[in-house]
Symmetry: none
Subunit: 247 residues, 2 copies
């Protein structure tokens, strides 16, 4: 889905971040990684962070000298920035970027997202090649994200968006919700049980049932939970009948 | 906004990940970090990853022995998992979790999000204390995220959500939520009551309590509802003692 999306790391300083970014790419379904003019690149330091699973992404990453080479063949380039002042207007959120990227990819485009150096980010010169800029929302106290963390957040938004339907975790299907008649049957049964053990008083049980009803109506009660509670009620009533005082 | 949100790292293996997680906390406006029983904790290794900006978060992080201590005082605990099969039903996406967390926090609750060890994640034992589970969508080729990367993605969703305007329904102030110790006391009391009426069997009551726990952990149980349920349990036990068969 994100086959035609390329992650470009521009002059990264720490090989470990390149490894971590490769792992983030794998997690989020991106396989194209390009590194521009890295500082002291060292595969030995990068590989452990990529883990064995993302090793192939790191090993097939293109290493080039210039940003222009990195984005060759792309139809759109987006830059990431932590600086949002001055002329850097119309900066997108990661969510908005993900929508734009998704549209471009579905339209047959090839998209690159560029991340700047850890310390300085992208300069105006580099952003001038970009079709748009994106910034990740942060607290005012800590505006600078780790490079690979920025990569994972942006790719997470793109991956989420690329999933056609809403994201549905694997697992057995959910139980169906209890119907209104089932819920009413349960309330009647609960009331009878609570009367049987003298928790509710005979004079106005409906009134005392109000908080009980309110409690259960908050819950999106499932069929299996309905069965469970009906079973408890039956057992209470059986118990009272068998052992309770004769009325 | 996320002042009452606590990030809990359960038995992390690498100090570097603790440092990175502290930085992610700072970026996303979270200042409460708790580390449970870390493996070979080493401040020297953790600090550079936290950077100077997040140093205070790392230095004031509570280090405790058990998960129970870590979540003491919280009203809801959510676990993160990469395993979504078996009985692990109704697992939320990070987005859905962010919505739930936001609601709980705005209601005056104190919420913890627990992240398991890098290699194994949380076991069923640890997730049993959780009110809900969350998983991050990933490609099938790389389902395992770096610990601190998982932290930043989840907190990013929570932070994003916290920036949105508050939805405040009219009405009287909400009851406070039941605390985790209260919830545990209720489970113990429920179990005793269900044993007393022979609904649960003596041989493996913990196992039979699982669906009961699951049911109640779905609900954002309020203090008055807790009192109501404790009262029902007391009455059941009183009734059994008074009228039940002598054992």
């Amino acid at each position: 889905m994100l086959d035609e999306l390329t992650v470009v790391l521009f002059r990264p300083k720490y090989p470990e971040n390149i490894g971590s970014a490769a792992r983030a790419c794998l997690n989020m379904g991106v396989s194209r990684l390009v590194v521009v003019d890295p500082y002291n690149f060292n595969m030995e330091k990068a590989l452990p962070l990529a883990t064995a699973h993302a090793r192939h992404i790191l090993e097939t990453a293109r290493i080039v000298d210039t940003l222009a080479e990195a984005v060759e063949g792309c139809t759109a380039v987006f830059g990431t920035t932590a600086r949002t002042g001055g002329w850097r207007k119309g900066i997108m959120s990661p969510e908005t970027l993900a929508g734009v990227v998704d549209e471009r990819l579905r339209g047959g485009g090839r998209v690159a997202i560029v991340f700047g150096p850890e310390d300085k980010g992208l300069t105006n010169e580099e952003t001038s090649i970009c079709s748009g800029l994106m910034t990740i929302p942060t607290s005012r106290e800590g505006t600078s994200l780790n490079l690979a963390q920025a990569v994972v957040v942006v790719l997470y938004e793109c991956f989420k968006r690329s999933l056609a339907g809403p994201f549905v975790p694997d697992g057995p299907p959910e139980e169906r919700a209890a119907t209104i008649p089932e819920q009413e049957a349960l309330f009647a049964n609960l009331q009878q049980s609570l009367l049987a053990i003298d928790f509710l008083k005979d004079d106005n049980p409906d009134y005392w049932m109000l908080p009980v009803r309110r409690f259960f109506s908050k819950v999106n009660l499932k069929r299996n939970e309905f069965n469970l509670l009906m079973g408890v009620c039956r057992q209470v009533q059986w118990f009272v009948e068998r052992y309770g005082p004769k009325k």
